[in-house]
Amino acid sequence: MRVTQGTFSFLPDLTDEQITAQVQYCLDNGWAVNIEYTDDPHPRNTYWDMWGQPMFDIPDAAGIMMELAACRKAHGHLYIRLSAFDSSHGWESVKLSFLVNRPVEEPGFRLRRSEGEGRNIRYTTDPYSTDRPEGSRYQG
């Protein structure tokens, strides 16, 4: 399967040139770009691990791309996303977020159903990858 979180997941994976253009768009809007990675793609896993802090006051995308290259070197077998933060009043949250790296194999999610009374069902979504302990997932 293909995890379709993030803004551009229905397109072919973005090239570095395409990523650079999106990053530049964020920087030109005055947003700080953050790099995050995870081995737990659960849709409600909000807090991915941060690769350093959100990068403020950077005029050119090359700076972000340098960090992305470093993050890929360390975590190239995992999910990596870029998120852009807008600090202006009335938003103060993420403005754009998209995947820039994904594992070669994406095993997807198991949907668990536990049947209750009155035909009520409790649903739980489990990434197959999290069957293995943190740090040893997506090792091929």
Partner: protein
């Protein structure tokens, strides 16, 4: 049309009998509205022979303290404060016999946080008043002090995006079709296919409640199976607007509670339930961390005609105060009423932190929003993937684009229709962010993206010539020489 005041002062003002409204203090051309006043702009069409100033004063009177005759009991009150004051009357450009009347209301006239109370005054008795042929509430300025007494959208655009983990693009939805007749089990199939194919939301239609062909519980149970299954298939958060509209508040609460218990992120209501019910549901939604979608069913009965009723921009303002999270606000390019400037005005009312007066877009007043959450506009009705560049350009990215027919009507099926819409959207956002001119290059961008997406190619072929070009019945009347009150 600035006239002198006619107000009779002293004890003559309260002599028994009938007196012209403009003499009773409802016409005060020198009045300067206070920062705390509620201001309304009405389009009035007086009966033949009726003085427009008197008509404006009558609207002020009938929407505040007046009755048809002088009453001595006024003298037991601070009547001059409570009288609404018409302070300005302008001829409507290019519309003979119509006038814009500006009326200021003291804040003490209104109960805090109650749309029901506000509307009972402003659009109460006055709309049936005989000396007027027609009356339309064009816009209102709601002062900060009053705005602050309302909850506002239960969730708001920012938090909705945070909960859904979806940023930087419009959200995509589809209304399940046919709107009536599907069993719960078949209904859920449509939901699953559309969500799995790439939409973020599906939606009940306005008149799907609990009918012989499908009990509401059946719908909710099957829909949530579909939502959870699509979520697991995509790794993305999905939702479906479960319509909880019902005959009584008790029924609505019961349905909303059930939706929550099943793990839905969102419920929906119809405008026809009324303002009090909407406010109750908004408070319920805030308490229960749910998004509240409003379908504006019925609004066209009073928003569409230019001379009589209430402009939708006012409905949008009330809805933002009342506290819903989504509101249908027009598409411009789709099958339903809406000219571009007027629609832009509605979207501004929903999404701005501060809405500036903009007569070209039909916005008569500066409107502070006092940090009330933003209301997500929804574009729905006759739109398809081939219009993506226009939709994005006209409506921006904080909007839900609902492709009902444009998803379910796809020749290769519902999931293919959903995928086509999602790919069209993402390629357009990508191109826009890259600095390309999407209005001009849009069709090429879509064709290019369709090279790696067969469903999009099929969608473009199927709907390439579908447009709805009819003259709009409601567009702003203004001339650059006319200045509205601030």
């Amino acid at each position: 049309m600035q006239e002198i005041a006619h107000t009779i002062k002293g004890k003559d003002r309260y002599r028994s009998g009938v007196m012209e409204y403009k003499k009773m203090g409802y016409w005060e051309p020198d009045y300067e509205p206070k920062d705390t006043d509620v201001i309304a702009c009405f389009r009035i069409t007086p009966q033949d022979g009726v003085d427009p100033i008197e008509a404006a004063a009558a609207v002020a009177g009938e929407s505040s303290t007046a009755t048809w005759t002088v009453v001595w009991t006024d003298r037991l009150t601070a009547a001059e404060k409570y009288r609404a004051k018409a302070y300005r009357v302008d001829e409507v450009p290019n519309a003979e016999g119509q006038y814009f009347a500006y009326i200021a209301y003291d804040l003490d006239l209104f109960e805090p946080g109650s749309i029901a109370n506000l509307t009972a005054s402003i659009i109460g008795n006055v709309f049936g008043f005989k000396p007027l042929k027609a009356l339309r509430l064009e816009d209102m300025r709601l002062p900060t002090a009053y705005v602050k007494t309302f909850q506002g959208p239960a969730t708001g655009i920012v938090v909705e995006r945070e909960r859904l983990d979806k940023f930087g693009r419009p959200l995509l939805g589809a209304t399940v079709k046919p709107k009536l007749g599907l069993s719960g089990r078949n209904y859920g199939r449509v939901v699953y296919e559309a969500l799995k194919g790439g939409l973020d939301f599906t939606k009940d239609d306005e008149n799907i409640n609990s009918q012989p062909f499908m009990d509401w519980r059946e719908r909710f149970l099957y829909c949530m199976e579909a939502v959870n299954k699509a979520q697991a298939a995509s790794g993305e958060i999905k939702g479906t607007y479960l319509n909880v509209t019902a005959a009584t508040m008790e029924d609505m609460y019961e349905r909303a509670e059930f939706a929550k218990q099943l793990g839905s992120t969102i419920v929906m209501i119809d405008l026809v339930i009324g303002w009090t019910a909407m406010q109750s549901m908004a408070k319920w939604a805030r308490r229960n961390n749910m998004i509240l979608h409003l379908h504006r069913a019925g609004h066209s009965t009073y928003t569409r005609q230019k001379s009589h009723g209430v402009s939708f921009r006012v409905i949008a303002k009330w809805a933002r105060l009342a506290g819903v999270d989504h509101i249908h606000a027009g598409t411009v390019v789709g099958k339903l009423e809406g000219d571009p400037a007027t629609t832009r005005g509605y979207y501004d009312v929903c999404r701005n932190e501060f809405t500036r007066q903009n007569l070209a877009d039909g916005i008569f007043f500066d409107q502070p929003w006092a940090s009330l959450n933003k209301l997500m506009p929804v574009a729905s009705g006759g739109i398809h993937a081939g219009q993506m560049h226009q939709l994005l350009d006209l409506l921006g990215e904080d909007v839900v684009l609902q492709f009902g027919g444009g998803t379910i009507g796809h020749p290769m099926g519902i999931a293919a229709g959903a995928t086509a819409n999602r790919v069209a959207l993402e390629c357009m956002i990508l191109a826009r962010n890259e600095g390309r001119d999407i209005v001009r290059e849009g069709p090429d961008i879509l064709v290019e993206a369709a090279k790696h997406c067969t469903p999009l190619r099929q969608a473009l072929d199927t709907w390439k010539d579908v447009t709805f070009n009819y003259a709009s019945t409601d567009s702003p009347d203004y001339q650059t020489s006319v200045t509205a009150a601030a």
